[in-house]
């Protein structure tokens, strides 16, 4: 079942140009040059029920702008979108009760009060029945391990604890669609992992459709089977994460450690050297030649250990971004 459908969605922002300096500031009081920037250009995609899709793209690529349009915060300049059959920017309460937005950089919890107070307020705003509220809250506090911190003023919580409470606050009305904008930003590795694991479990259990944007490739790798890559406002890839690897990666990485020092020149004939110390080398080799090179290395050189790895995914994404820039 299609939950989200986006057709030729575009957003153009207008802004004013002002050159640096005081005199130019004075001039800009009288005359300003209006400029336009296409934040999102003719994007199309559909997302089905229960999917967990990752939005990837560098800063300013248009990921967040797309999310803002899908949650009805801003109006598109052109194009259409439908979420759960509704047009988001009409902001109908019946639609708003079925989705949630969590922003890593914006908090909805009341800063001076314990998270529980914000939860109760959300319960009323979303008109969640008492019984449902209790079961959902119990379940969420168990999954997120926040039972102990619900009574502590939010400002006293650590960033990781706060993010967990933010997630709980957004999920209390059991939304069918969840938009996550950088939910793990600024968190330490352990907290990141906790949030990730929670999202994975939650998506499996409740079949909630989730769109996630993140700069951390670990998030995307752990959670999303499908990724949508946006750069300069255009969609440049939409499909399985694994297919992305097949399409863009034709190399493997050989990581070899030696028992004695080896000259760089001997290794250069075998492939491209990515990293080199006399006893260890990271070698980039074309996929179909991997086996052949490995055999050569093992039979000719004093090998202590050899590992055959995939190219790291953030490396792949970086390549795609730089390639699309030069297009």
């Amino acid at each position: 079942m299609t939950i989200i459908e986006v057709k030729n969605l575009s957003k153009t922002y207008e802004y004013y140009k002002k050159q640096a300096g005081l005199w130019n500031s004075v001039k800009s009081l009288f005359h300003r040059e209006k400029l336009f920037t296409d934040a999102v250009k003719n994007i199309n995609f559909t997302i089905n029920e229960g999917e967990l899709v990752g939005f990837l793209g560098p800063n300013g690529a248009g990921k967040t702008t797309t999310l803002k349009m899908l949650s009805g915060i801003i109006y598109p300049s052109r194009g259409e979108a439908s979420v759960l059959g509704f047009t988001p920017w009409k902001r109908q309460p019946i639609f708003q009760k079925q989705f949630a937005l969590v922003m890593g950089q914006k908090n909805q919890l009341w800063w001076d009060l314990p998270a529980m107070e914000s939860f109760i307020l959300n319960k009323e705003i979303y008109e969640v029945p008492d019984k449902q509220f209790k079961t959902t809250l119990d379940e969420l506090s168990r999954l997120l391990e926040i039972k102990e911190i619900l009574e502590i003023p939010v400002r006293k919580l650590s960033l990781g604890q706060r993010m967990k409470c933010e997630l709980a606050a957004a999920l209390l009305h059991s939304p069918k669609v969840l938009f996550l904008d950088e939910p793990t930003i600024g968190l330490d590795v352990v907290s990141q992992k906790n949030i990730r694991e929670f999202l994975k479990k939650y998506n499996k259990q409740t079949k909630t459709t989730i769109i996630l944007t993140s700069h951390y490739m670990e998030d995307v790798e752990a959670l999303c089977e499908r990724v949508v890559i946006i750069n300069h406002g255009s969609l440049i890839y939409d499909g399985a994460l694994s297919k992305l690897m097949d399409r863009y990666v034709d190399q493997k990485m050989l990581e070899i450690t030696f028992t004695e020092d080896i000259a760089k020149t001997t290794l250069e004939q075998l492939g491209t050297i990515a990293e080199f110390t006399p006893q260890r080398v990271l070698l980039e080799v074309p996929k179909q030649k991997t086996k052949e090179v490995a055999i050569k290395v093992l039979s000719n050189l004093p090998v202590d250990d050899i590992l055959i790895n995939e190219v790291p995914i953030d490396e792949v994404i970086r390549k795609i971004f730089t390639a699309s820039k030069t297009l």
Binding site: I73, L101, D112, E117
Partner: protein, 264 residues
């Protein structure tokens, strides 16, 4: 209905965590009022009547007027402008409650405690000076006064909301807000009774919403205007409330289209 009471309660709880600052503000208010009392008392040393006001009338004017100002004011524009400017508004736009309702009810909850404390401190001052003041016990007049003050509260809230909405265009509203407040204090009779000015000026003030937060209700309290005039005044307030609601609808619809939800 439940969501409104919960929102007010949440705002109250928040206010309680800021009790020190709220009490500290009241000290300034008391000092200002006492200073005004001293100033007018010395102005009356050589004369019994200024522009038709005796000293007790003048002191009553100041105390009652200030009390009304304190219970009708709000700090909504500043709060709103910040939410629009830094993109926090996005959090409310996705919720199944209108921002207008949310912001106004939250503001009501936010100012309840300062309101009660101001009421308390002013009643204390009134009690202290009561033998030099004019005390009214006419029920119909007091009821009209209550209505007018309620109207003034709503009008002020709506005006602040409009000022807050300007943030969609300019990002900062402090300048507009401060200017409006200064003008308001002048045309509402906050510095001195408008009766000291030419009658045309007073006539204009009666058609603007500001005088109803100070001058008109105190005139009513002092019995310087009739109950019929007061009723007419309440009529003017109702027209203003309708007008302001219309303006809000228009401005919001245009403003929210410009909103970019920056900062996320």
């Amino acid at each position: 209905m439940h969501k409104f009471t919960t929102l007010i309660q949440t705002a109250w709880q928040r206010a309680l965590t800021h009790r020190f600052s709220i009490i500290a503000y009241r000290i300034g208010e008391i000092i200002e009022v006492i200073f005004l009392i001293i100033m007018w008392s010395s102005l009356y040393e050589h004369t019994a009547v200024i522009s038709g006001y005796t000293l007790p009338e003048m002191l009553t004017y100041i105390l009652v007027g200030n009390l009304i100002t304190f219970v009708t004011r709000n700090f909504l524009s500043d709060f709103m402008a910040r939410e629009i400017k830094d993109g926090t508004l996005s959090l409310f736009l996705v919720k199944p409650i209108s921002y207008f309702t949310y912001a106004c009810i939250r503001e009501f909850g936010r100012i309840t405690m300062p309101f009660l404390l101001s009421l308390g401190t002013h009643l204390l001052i009134i009690l202290f000076f009561w033998h030099r003041l004019i005390i009214t016990t006419q029920v119909s007049r007091l009821l009209l006064l209550l209505l007018m003050v309620a109207g003034a509260f709503i009008t002020e809230l709506l005006i602040s909301y409009i000022v807050g909405l300007i943030a969609f265009w300019t990002d900062e509203v402090d300048g507009v807000y401060t200017t409006i407040n200064r003008l308001k204090k002048f045309v509402s009779g906050g510095y001195f009774p408008l009766s000291l000015l030419p009658s045309l000026y007073i006539k204009i003030s009666y058609t603007l919403p500001f005088a109803y937060s100070f001058f008109v209700p105190t005139q009513l309290y002092l019995g310087k205007i009739s109950n019929t005039t007061a009723l007419k005044g309440i009529g003017v307030q109702i027209i203003w409330i309708g007008l302001l609601c219309g303006i809000i609808k228009l401005v919001w619809r245009r403003g929210v289209r410009r909103y970019e939800g920056v900062g996320i």
